[in-house]
Amino acid sequence: MAPPVAIAIEGVGKRFNLYAERASSLKERVVRLRRSKAREFWALKDVAYDIQPGRTVGLVGANGSGKTTLLKVIGGIIRPTEGTVTTRGRIAALLELGAGFHPELTGRENVYLNASILGLTRKETDRHFDAIVAFAELEDFIDQQVKYYSSGMFVRLGFAVAVHVDPQILLVDEVLAVGDEGFQRKCIERVKEFQAEGRTIVFVTHAVDLVRRICNEAIMLDHGEVRASGDVDSVISELRTVLLQQHAYYAGEEGTRDLEIVSAEIYDEQGRTGAAFHPGDTIVVQVDLRANTPVENPVISIGLTDANDQFVFGTNTDWRQQRWPVFEGKQRVRFVLKGIPFVEGRYSVTLGAHSRDVSTVYHSLENRFFFDVSRGEENTGAVFIPVEVQVEPL
């Protein structure tokens, strides 16, 4: 028989009422007798998912997709409007580091206060105290008032307490992204210890690589609904797609149109369009341009952006020694990208036509075109390196 699930989320919906102007005082309530109409907003819609004990689940999605709301519902901080959440085991929600920290109190006092708020008893805190202080690397400052701490020290202390709570279910909201790299590594080590101890972890994050590194499964929310769930890789690729589509929606277009990008196409070496590319493939971005008036010294540029909106590559005709003293009529420009170094994901293409000093933009199309790269079975990681495996008998 399967063990009982640690977290059972069944048909959970959460509605927020957004009031344009809601009476926030008794006075207003009396003066404005008619209730102002609330606009309903469903932050979560029919979310269902079972999390088995001992699993680490990444909760991903664009901003405003309902990740934190779901975490708060699981943590019992807010109530679902529909459905049920059942949790088994002591639960600790880390939505903020150093919850309840008071600047006038010393580090020591704040540790006890914060620990009790997170559910540790005094005895437990006594037992972990030295470990907490050591983890935060604050041995010399622990009896100082927290108001004299730097923000880094503050956060370290908050995190040190947080990782010493002893829950069976741990809910974490973005807090892993604190401190310097050394401290972050320590935090991730600690999360791995939690995993090894068989605790259930749910965490909200934007860091896709972190999800890959430490999660067994993932849930992606999109406008409050589960868009994808389960296998980490498939959830992440879905996330990338959605993030890019959202960008496409906002894709900008601007310029004087003296020189206009009439059309563009992306195809592979064989001239095929629309197919997914593989790491190391050659990609051709073909741009057709028309000068509405003769333009001197224009530059055509291309930029590639990944699903996290990270600019990954750019070049232009000028740098590639392609120049037009005067651009007239129609021209076709092909950027042949030889051997793309991407492993996986959806990439968007920004095209631009501008003057050489970039003071005048004739026409730009932001994130208007896409291509997908699928890694295949033989690659993993962030960048593609052409590999040959050589074997010889010894």
Partner: protein, 309 residues
């Protein structure tokens, strides 16, 4: 993957859209489990209040001492109160009132003022107003000490009425808690509750026989044919009377040329202990009912505090 420790009793929590029903015993157990937050918050509140001051906790004793000095001088020399040992009389009412008014005043903003905590951490929300009451109780203890010491020093002495003190204190705490829960929950939705509470407390102070003796009021009511019970509808009046009977005693009568007390008539309305015990019993029972109702109100609303902040 090893499963979570099954030897430990697993805590199963179910969250639904249904606002949970207040089950007093169960909730009390939950509150008891979280008592360390309460003690830590009380400690914090006191510490923060006194940490930066040189005199520290002495301040909470200075407060009643100042009352003693100012009121003692004003009402003994400038304005004759007509009440013997006026400072003792005044303080026995003031300690009760101060506990009530500071606890309720602080509790009003306890949820809103800890918005950060409420919207990020799940814990029984009652803890926050209770912490305000806790801090007020610590101050109360110091002030009571000052009062008792002063009473003994000036030779006023403590009588058998002292047996009323635990009852009066218990009723005061129950009533204060009931009101604190109510206003703190209310202030989340309607933020001007705190201003109303401030004004309300000011009016309430003067409607309660703290500065003036209830005996005089009782006499005035009797003269005009009204029942004194009307005056005692104010639960604080009953509670304060209980404190005065316990700490000041019922033997005093108004002295000549007094401002508040008429000459020769009793300062307190009734000499017997039973009278006060009965009044306190009635108010105590009503306060318990009020506590249940306001707790239920608080409990029902508390699930939404995180959203309303």
């Amino acid at each position: 993957m090893p499963s979570a420790d099954t030897a430990e009793a697993t805590e199963v929590l179910v969250r639904t859209s249904e606002p949970p029903k207040l089950r007093v015993r169960r909730r009390l157990r939950e509150l008891a489990e979280h008592r360390e937050i309460l003690t830590n918050l009380v400690r914090k509140e006191l510490k923060v209040r006194y940490a930066t001051s040189a005199l520290g906790v002495v301040w909470s004793m200075l407060n009643p001492l100042l009352y003693l000095a100012v009121f003692g001088v004003v009402f003994t020399f400038f304005l004759k109160s007509g009440i013997p040992d006026f400072p003792v009389f005044l303080l026995s009412g003031i300690v009760a009132w101060t506990l009530f008014s500071t606890a309720v005043g602080q509790a009003t903003t306890s949820i809103v003022g800890n918005a950060n905590l409420v919207s990020k951490v799940a814990f029984p929300r009652e803890i926050l107003p209770l912490a305000s009451i806790g801090a007020a109780l610590v101050n109360f203890a110091f002030q009571l000490l000052v009062l008792i010491a002063f009473t003994l020093v000036i030779g006023h002495g403590l009588g058998s009425g002292l047996v009323l003190l635990p009852l009066a204190f218990a009723v005061l705490v129950v009533f204060t808690t009931a009101l604190a829960l109510l206003v703190s929950a209310f202030n989340v939705r309607y933020r001007d509750t705190q201003h109303l509470v401030e004004l309300g407390l000011l009016a309430w102070f003067w409607l309660t026989p703290i500065v003036y003796p209830a005996g005089t009021i009782a006499k005035k009511f009797a003269e005009s044919g009204w029942s004194f019970d009307l005056f005692l509808i104010n639960p604080l009046a009953d509670i304060v009377l209980g404190f005065q009977r316990a700490l000041y005693g019922a033997s005093a009568v108004g002295t000549e040329g007094g401002g508040f007390a008429s000459e020769g008539s009793a300062i307190l309305p009734d000499p017997g202990l039973a009278y006060y015990a009965l009044r306190l019993g009635i108010v105590g029972a009503a306060s318990l009912l009020l506590l249940f109702l306001s707790w239920r109100f608080f409990f029902n609303r508390s699930g939404d505090f995180a959203e309303e902040l």
